[in-house]
Subunit: 417 residues, 2 copies
């Protein structure tokens, strides 16, 4: 027997990898992964990550909230909780959503481990292999990865500087339907979209809701950045207009802090039970400790003022980025002008491959995310996402200047300019 | 268009439920769910739940740890972290596992949102619909639910008072192989098993490892209770003997507190990358805040002494339960005698249906979990799980006395005694 054990351990045909389920083949590292390891080195100006800037977060206040929580309510905060999430926090989440015009009942809110988990669970509940999911072009890399793992056929729909183009949505639906495939839902980020930075205006929201209702396609509205408008409030959430046909995802990662991993889904009643069961199977219950920390912060601290401080901080960085893009990027490059959120989307001449350009940018001590990461179909090779959320304005200028130089040299080498 | 929208909202055939993926049919509420709502009423002695008893947790110390964490390292603790988990905590986890004979490298540890998430991700990576998963009879309800959602064919293997029976494992493997089905892995809880409370002795561990190695079946060793032995330390973990063929799951839920939702998987190298990708797709990253809270507690507090305090607290309750079972349960009932952990498994005469008995127990102000919850195949109708972890010894005696009365009456009515 012991010989058998030894043979087992060394035999190449006995690897765990040979036991993987079919779906494991779809679990591939994104191209951003390796990049982040490099981009996090201190000498590099990272315009790559989407990490919120916590320098404005009042840590003393936060420590007080958590200290009080443990001392006064520790046996609840550190215990297992409800699979749906803590009732008190679900009430407070309804107050937060009211700022974007949503009237909701706490019973319809499910607290998740960041809104990424909501994406995962919704995919699990709805996507059969081969089902079509419509997404913006480009779209959030984390959503694309999850849809892919559930073997969805991701179809991109054109955007412009005002977000998803309704006419393109109609055309995409028609084209997909002609192939006989089933469209499961439309996933979109209407506010300060990741990665494009654009905002979907109110009239387009209405038009898209009407198209989807008529075509019997439901909408997954992902809204982590809605309260981070710099100059004016965002239009009402799409969920505010339609409570039946929209699954709404929210998060405290960008308005408070991501380290708590607290997001939520607001869902039509018919979906709630399945979503809770899927959540319980996935993690039993979200952390009472992080939920009640957020809850205490919302109850005791001036969180609206704090969001205003974040907006001020990000606005200065957005301005630094747009000004330095204007100053340092060569003619032939264009970019979006975000009114909020974290991201600028840059489009270069089609001859420039932003993935191939990355090593040169790293040498010049600046990092970004190549555009293809935000497409399921290999498109986007001449675009890139720049984030301004984390570095100081000075570092942003330094990074954009360095990157502008790299791009200019590349364009000169290719005789584009 | 607006007519269409109205019709969409009221048309019964337009429900989201009709868009569910096939796998959503398998997401069904467990029978424990409705029960817990009733069992949590204060007048009921709940012997149903598996909630750790946090009365022994030093809340002042815990508050100090977290206060210090936020004040000194808040921008890291409240930020996004690594998908694999925080490097410092992964080192400390290796120290914890060393107590059960495991030598491991932090690179092979993946931090999860409770070990339930590890079960979910492992299922996702390995289980194709129809694959067989071998489990103890009975087994953990949360694992059964997850395996079912991934469309596994769960096959139970006989246990006795010393845990899984090696001969029964051989027979089960042979029987399954004859049907042509693929066995993906053996899932087991060697220490103070949930729900049976039994311990797998060292010699059986070795024998089961050898059987599985010879049969090329890997093992998922779930070990939340290993450090909660009351009278003597548990035998070394199975992973201590075999680093290639065992996926080990650990958790701080029972040794510190479940509200942090921090568990982990220790996996063979060939599995790590896929598991991290699956974890990122599921939740991006585990909470830095809860991980670093645990890390600070492990670094600064006498956590081994604290586990000893937990053991003392649970031992008193175990004794109260075993004594009162002896005193109040009628002849014809038998039960396991756990040396640690949270649970006693009671077997009644086969005429007694413990699910049907529940309403009578509730009237008598006591709750338990009916045995069928711990089987994938409807077996277990004359058994029940009693947990002694949470109530006071007095309440345990009160509950067991009431339950003994209910069972005695039922047996008299059925002329069993």
């Amino acid at each position: 027997m012991s010989n058998e054990v030894t043979r087992f351990r060394t035999g190449e045909d006995q690897q765990l990898t040979q036991r993987f389920a079919h779906r494991a083949e779809l679990m591939q590292a994104s191209e951003i992964r390796a990049l982040f390891a490099v981009a996090s080195r201190p000498e590099i100006v990272s315009l790559a990550g989407g990490m919120p800037n916590l320098s404005a977060l009042p840590m003393e206040m936060m420590a007080d909230v958590v200290d009080k929580l443990i001392k006064e309510n520790g046996t609840e905060a550190l215990q297992y909780g409800s699979g749906q999430g803590h009732p008190k926090l679900r009430e407070q989440i309804c107050d937060v959503m009211a700022l974007e015009g949503i009237r909701a009942h706490p019973d319809d809110v499910i607290v998740t481990t960041g809104s990424q988990q909501a994406l995962d669970l919704i995919s699990r509940i709805f996507i059969n292999p081969g089902d079509v999911v419509l997404v913006e072009a480009p779209s959030y890399v984390g959503a694309l990865g999850t849809f892919k793992q559930y073997e969805a056929n991701v179809v991109h729909v054109e955007m412009d500087e005002n977000g998803l183009v309704p006419e393109a949505l109609r055309a995409a639906i028609e084209a997909v339907r002609k192939t006989g495939q089933e469209i499961k839902f439309l996933y979109l980020i209407p506010n300060y979209q990741n990665p494009a930075g654009v905002l979907l205006p109110a009239d387009r929201r209405t038009e898209i809701l009407e198209i989807c209702a008529a075509e019997k396609i439901f909408i997954v509205e992902d809204n982590p950045y809605g309260l981070l408008g710099f100059d004016r409030p965002s239009p009402n959430a799409m969920r505010a207009q339609d409570s039946e046909n929209v699954i709404y995802l929210g998060s405290f990662s960008k308005t408070i802090a991501p380290g708590f991993r607290v997001g939520w889904a607001l869902v039509p009643q018919s979906l709630k039970e399945k979503l809770v069961i899927a959540a319980e199977s996935s993690i039993l219950c979200p952390s009472n400790f992080t939920q009640l920390s957020i809850s205490g912060y919302l109850a005791d601290q001036p969180w609206r003022d704090q969001i205003a401080s974040f907006c001020k901080l990000y606005k200065v960085r957005r301005d630094a980025m747009l000004e330095s893009l204007e100053q340092y990027f060569p003619e032939g490059a264009s970019w979006t002008k975000p009114g909020g959120g974290f991201y600028v989307w840059v489009t270069l001449p089609p001859e420039i491959d932003t993935t191939a350009l990355m090593p040169k940018a790293i040498v010049a001590k600046v990092a970004y995310v190549p555009g293809t990461a935000f497409y399921a179909d290999g498109f986007g090779s001449w675009s890139m996402r720049l984030s301004y959320c984390h570095p100081t304005p000075e570092r942003i200028r330094e990074g954009v200047r360095a990157l502008g130089g790299v791009i200019r040299t590349e364009m000169e080498n290719r005789a584009i300019i």
